[in-house]
Subunit: 528 residues, 2 copies
């Protein structure tokens, strides 16, 4: 006998919560990262009545939103998140912001007070849609239990885009416990727009004519094998420069793969990369801009007289555009750029971001997934990744730190057979360290490396760049993560993750290798 | 020679950031809880050029917003917060939500991209005012450097209300580094509205006539000695029942003080407290409602035919109303309710929330400040507090957990000569455990007690109440904080706070006492 759907009213055949769950499952949404509260208890209870959903608990909502982002980047399909009212959603916003910039599909379910209760300004009352709109262009509030199925289908449709987004469905508690209507149907996903043959042929002539004074900038979902192979043919056939958006949500890197240049973080470097360009073709990327503005500096990065053509917008079919464009050049389909392995580190070398990077690159297993939140340490490490075994690279897409560890949770849930390597700055890691507990509970196959420079190091640089002047003692304290030093080994162990500390290159090399052999999460704190 | 205001443009005499800082200081705002980024570097640099502001770093923004709330509750004046763009503000929202419900004055300064940069959808671009409006009814975006001073004054005015609120000033980075206008003037704070003599005399006759069928419900800033003394005279003189809002941001409790009944959390209990009431006078409180709605239950708690009179709204002068009302009753001004001390615990007793509560109450030093986020454990502890030495009690006002530890930071910064005791559930503590690091850095005089029941225990209750049915194995996992168990001793030590674990009543009693003698933060994990 099936357990009753509700204790409250045994005549209810299928609650709204069950209907929502069934509709999500019907649409292939079968992982839910959650931190539920009272308003979501019906959904939680339904997990045992409707089989197929894997619930993953985060001890802070930012873990859930970041994990859903990581999951979406690796699977290209949405996970659900289940969050509690306005403030619970509030805690998830920073990583939803990153997910929004990554254009990751996410079905974000948020409970609200029962409709009749909303007029009373109870303590947890808040304007839930207002919280949601900060990160979601698609926000709906369920208006009845009977529409739960159709609305859930629409939420999946909105999440999947293209290009993909955080779609938020707000469910007042009474629609979760009341009788629902029919289970929703299959989501109807819009197709991606394709460039016309004329546009592509025109682009090909421009590239052919301008050669290295032209460039193709790719992003979105194109920085994968199919896109890179086509990009290589275009580069070879036209002589044009090939770049990829530094905020691309997932990039395929490593030896044997064509490597477009990654657009630099600081504007001077990016401007140097783009120097002399007269025309840029954009494919699932936007014209590059500076991350921050600085006094006396413009925000755009391309030369002022550089023309821009969009061959595929962010919702367009970039792989099609790349392959069709490549077909305009009569180039054999062999690869021309192959890199050596990096040298292993010597135990006499001191421990620096560069030696850490070399050790990681030397040992990185084939098929690894790197979650990069190294911030100031990344510039020493990322350029080496082309010499590593082939892997996927997931950066912080929206600049909001606290993303790396949750992203690793989601990537590991999505790809249980691959090693996830989270490269994490100490300052950034602190925002969402609760993710380590979820790694432990779910026995996720994650190696975390903490780059412990004990400082918001990037702000030393940014302080100078914004013309804020010399760093006085009080300002210095605000950039300093020491006094007291964080002990990441204890923090990890406190959250159930085995951990060790490396203060020399040899220790790091040994410890990092050991983590790769382990099944389940491990953390190495590299003290710089 | 004064250091230059800027490296960018030495002709700038006073930057917008300096002007903002000077205006805040002029208005007595001299503590700033911050987690700044690039857009706020000018403000950070200005800390060393303009003396008087105490900057306190939080390693997560929710620490800053919760600390500003705790500071405001104890000082009745605003601290500033300094946060980084939309997502940084996003991380602070849950505790700003609590601060909003507490009606705490806070000057919330948020940096945004420079104005010319805002059109470019850079990675960190977001709709900052939209984030702010979720918790702030007063949101302004600086429109020029020259208005920084006057706008800062207006922000202080808005924050102080009455009754007090989170007032948000968004500052585009260029207005921080450009030349400012004049330093702003002194804030002009509106006065609180007072009840008329006629209203008060009318209320007095109703109370006199109805006696125990009438009640006075107080809240806001009235649950302090002056208000309690007047409340006692009203109770004695009229026979009316006296209650206080359970979400009052700060309540004076302890032996020797009159103790109105605290409105219960669960609606059945609250309804029992209010049974038979025919008229309720509200003083800085609103008509009580259920925290959550449950199937088949109404949200209001007073009897349906109970009349309600507002003698002081939340922005009204409640102390005036209480004292004027008390003067209507010819009662001597002696106290009539005095309580015994609690019994000390016996080492043979097992460790329960009740024995922990007794030990805390027995040892609590005079003048302590309790930050309560015990959640399911609170019902065993809070009723004992009337037997403790006199103290202030700060609850979670908006129901958003993750408030207790940050609140303790703010209370300890506000009151360095008093012992702050943060009573914290393990689940709630995990949301903002980064607060422990700030306690360590600032050497704050805080004792943290973790009630480690290793479960979202309150949800076991709420699951039943919402009629969600029996707890199946998957649902059970979502309420379970074990597998792996959190180790709060390691977490605290990892964040620089000395800690110990108690598994028996004797251990708890000894360890708790020891923390009270220490200078600086200590944590005791009480394993239930």
């Amino acid at each position: 006998m099936r357990p009753r759907a509700t204790q409250y009213n045994p005549s209810v055949k299928m609650t709204g919560a069950e209907c929502l769950l069934r509709t999500l499952l019907k649409n292939g949404v079968n992982v839910c990262f959650m931190n539920p509260g009272t308003s979501e208890m019906q959904f939680v209870a339904a997990l045992d009545r409707v089989s197929g959903m894997r619930p993953v608990l985060g001890l802070f909502e930012g873990v859930c939103s970041g994990a859903a982002d990581g999951y979406a980047r690796m699977t290209r399909k949405p996970a659900a998140t289940l969050l509690h009212l306005g403030p619970g959603l509030g805690n998830a916003l920073a990583n939803f912001h990153n997910a929004r910039k990554a254009r990751s599909p996410i079905v974000n379910v948020v409970g609200d007070h029962a409709t009749a209760h909303q007029a009373f300004d109870a303590p947890l009352s808040a304007d839930v849609p207002a919280f949601a709109r900060t990160v979601s262009d698609w926000v709906r509030v369920a208006g009845s239990g009977s529409e739960m199925g159709s609305l859930a289908t629409k939420t999946v449709e909105a999440a999947l885009g293209p290009p993909g987004q955080v779609a938020t469905l707000i469910v007042p508690a009474d629609f979760s416990w009341n009788e629902a209507g029919e289970v929703g149907g299959a989501a109807n996903i819009a197709s991606r727009a394709r460039a016309t043959t004329g546009d592509l042929e025109n682009a090909a002539s421009i590239l052919r004519e301008l050669g290295p004074a032209a460039a193709v900038l790719i992003g979105g979902e194109t920085v994968v094998d199919a896109g890179l192979k086509a990009a290589e043919r275009i580069a070879k056939g036209s002589g044009a420069r090939l770049f990829y958006d530094r905020n691309t949500s997932r990039s395929a890197l490593g030896r044997g793969r064509f490597a477009p240049q990654r657009v630099a973080y600081f504007p001077e470097k990016a401007e140097a990369q783009f120097k002399g360009l007269r025309h840029v073709m954009l494919i699932e990327a936007k014209a590059p801009v500076s991350f921050f503005a600085y006094p006396g500096r413009k925000s755009t990065l391309l030369p002022d007289d550089c023309a821009v053509t969009v061959l595929a917008g962010v919702a367009g079919d970039g792989i099609y555009a790349l392959e069709a464009l490549a077909d305009c050049f009569p180039v054999p389909k062999f690869a021309f750029e192959r890199r050596d392995r990096v040298h292993s580190v010597h135990s006499q070398e001191s421990l620096t971001t560069e030696t850490i990077g070399r050790a990681i690159v030397f040992h990185l297993p084939e098929g690894a997934i790197i979650c990069d939140e190294m911030v100031s340490s990344s510039e020493a490490v990322v350029p080496l990744l082309g010499m590593a075994n082939q892997h996927d690279f997931l950066p912080v897409t929206g600049g909001s730190i606290g993303q790396g560890l949750p992203l690793a949770v989601g990537a590991a849930v999505a790809c249980p057979d691959r090693k996830v390597v989270a490269l994490e700055a100490d300052g950034s890691g602190m925002y969402t360290l609760q993710a380590l507990w979820t790694m432990a509970r779910e026995k996720l196959n994650v190696t975390v490396v903490i780059f412990a420079n004990r400082r918001y190091r990037i702000l030393d640089v940014e302080m100078k760049r914004t013309g804020a002047g010399e760093l006085g003692p009080l300002a210095n304290q605000m950039l300093d993560l020491g006094r007291p030093d964080l002990d990441w080994v204890k923090l990890a162990e406190g959250l159930g993750v085995e951990a060790s500390r490396a203060t020399t290159t040899r220790e790091f090399d040994d410890q990092f290798q050991a983590t790769l052999k382990a099944n389940g999460p491990r953390l190495v704190e590299a003290v710089l």
